[in-house]
Point group: C2
Chain length 266, copies 2
């Protein structure tokens, strides 16, 4: 989520927030943009964007094409690689799941939280069509996803309230007819998740799909650094299978947390 | 490469350059840092870093631990995923190489250029030990690597001169006793690469290792967006094998460029 000019929190480095907004826009649009297009979309004068983009280009954060259009530059990879190195569990994620031999043909996903959204980092789509193919880079509102709720359940309630009540765009647009519809419902659900030790998404992302998630910890952060989930067809769900899926994803999350040194936490 | 305060090019948005330097430092150190540590390393007053870091935290570009230490935040993944989506050839990279059945057991790498360095994006280490294991996220000076030289060969000479003559830290520290030692030698080598249509690294990265590289293009950029290389043990090299490796990597680069729509370039 980008900082919004209307956000209640004061932005102490506005140029940095604008630079981030430029990169967000280029990331979202997925195609090169001109200075004029950026100025229009961000409602900023071209004159102020000019210096900002020149600096972003010097930093290799944007690349300029011959026609002057801009795309994201390679320097973003330096940060992403460092971020991912801390979370170097992608291989282990797939291998551990296979090793556990529980629901081996189902869809599994690994995501991180970016504000009130989750970003999928690694996904393996299963044999059974879910009406949705997960892919790395995909973003969804955290409150509708099993991984997102699992991660939110590791935050203090006050932080969750601050996060969800302060969303610049208001409550996330529902993806189906189901799902949590306000902060109070989320707080209630998080309490259940902490008791049960896994989260559920019951057709909150997609009709016909149930997901079960759990949080992954590392050695540094008291809050989850990632979430994992397994997705099944709601048609097949029954209490025994749901409990099996929940326990399995919990076990996977614990293995990955161990790999990241969570138990060595000072 | 970060913008350096001593760089001859004027920085029009200094707060953005400082923010980028903070993220670079966190990426390089690979462990959480305090405000005091950042201030010391970047030679900036704590007071000016305070507002910068608060904004970076609001933007989810840094995450603050309980003790106040900072690590890279998940929002960097949004940009990286968008950058990589444009370059969504990792799977094809491995599959195409296997499909070609030339030197199937050798090490292959895919990298992008970030200023005067290359960043490895995808690597498969071969059966034969090279004294070096490539891994995603690894960075090397472009002038010593086959992928880097292949990408540089797609720039005009003037751009290469500007890039290499303006390096804040001076000429990249040699990795072995071999390799190009000044801009003029690079310009000469790039001419040979354009004629031969593949680049070579002859023990410039590691004693005992030769690499052969070629540039990958997309539909938007006149310059290469990535480079691919195959690495072999120098002991085994002979003119026939070298030509075979060069032609194979060239063919792989052409396939990936086709996949990225390079031939549809307007």
């Amino acid at each position: 989520m980008s900082a919004d000019p209307a956000s209640p929190e004061r932005i102490l480095a506005p140029a940095v927030a604008r630079a981030s907004a430029v990169l967000d826009l280029l990331a979202r649009s997925g195609r090169p943009a001109t200075l004029a297009e950026l100025a229009r979309a961000l409602q900023l004068p071209k004159s102020s964007l000019h210096g900002l983009c020149a600096t972003l280009e010097q930093l290799n954060l944007i690349t300029r094409l011959d026609g002057g259009q801009m795309t994201l530059g390679p320097h973003v990879m330096m940060w992403a690689n460092a971020f991912m190195a801390r979370l170097d569990i992608t291989q282990e994620f797939f291998a551990s799941w296979d090793d556990m031999r529980v629901l081996p043909e189902e869809t599994i996903t690994l995501s991180v939280r970016d504000g009130a959204e989750v970003v999928y980092i690694a996904c393996r789509n299963g044999q059974h069509p879910l009406g949705l193919r997960f892919h790395a880079g995909m973003r969804l509102p955290a409150v509708y996803t099993a991984t997102g709720l699992a991660m939110l359940s590791t935050l203090p309630d006050a932080s969750v309230r601050k996060l969800l009540d302060g969303l610049p765009g208001g409550w996330p647009v529902p993806l189906t007819d189901h799902g949590l519809r306000d902060t109070a419902a989320v707080i209630d659900e998080l309490r259940r998740i902490r008791q049960r030790r896994y989260s559920t998404d019951r057709e909150w992302v997609r009709e016909g799909m149930y997901c079960y998630g759990a949080p992954v910890f590392d050695s540094h952060h008291p809050e989850a650094v990632a979430g994992v989930a397994v997705s099944i067809r709601s048609l097949e769900a029954n209490p025994a299978l749901e409990e099996r899926a929940g326990q399995a994803i919990r076990k996977l999350a614990d293995r990955l947390s161990e790999r990241l040194g969570a138990w060595r936490r000072p």
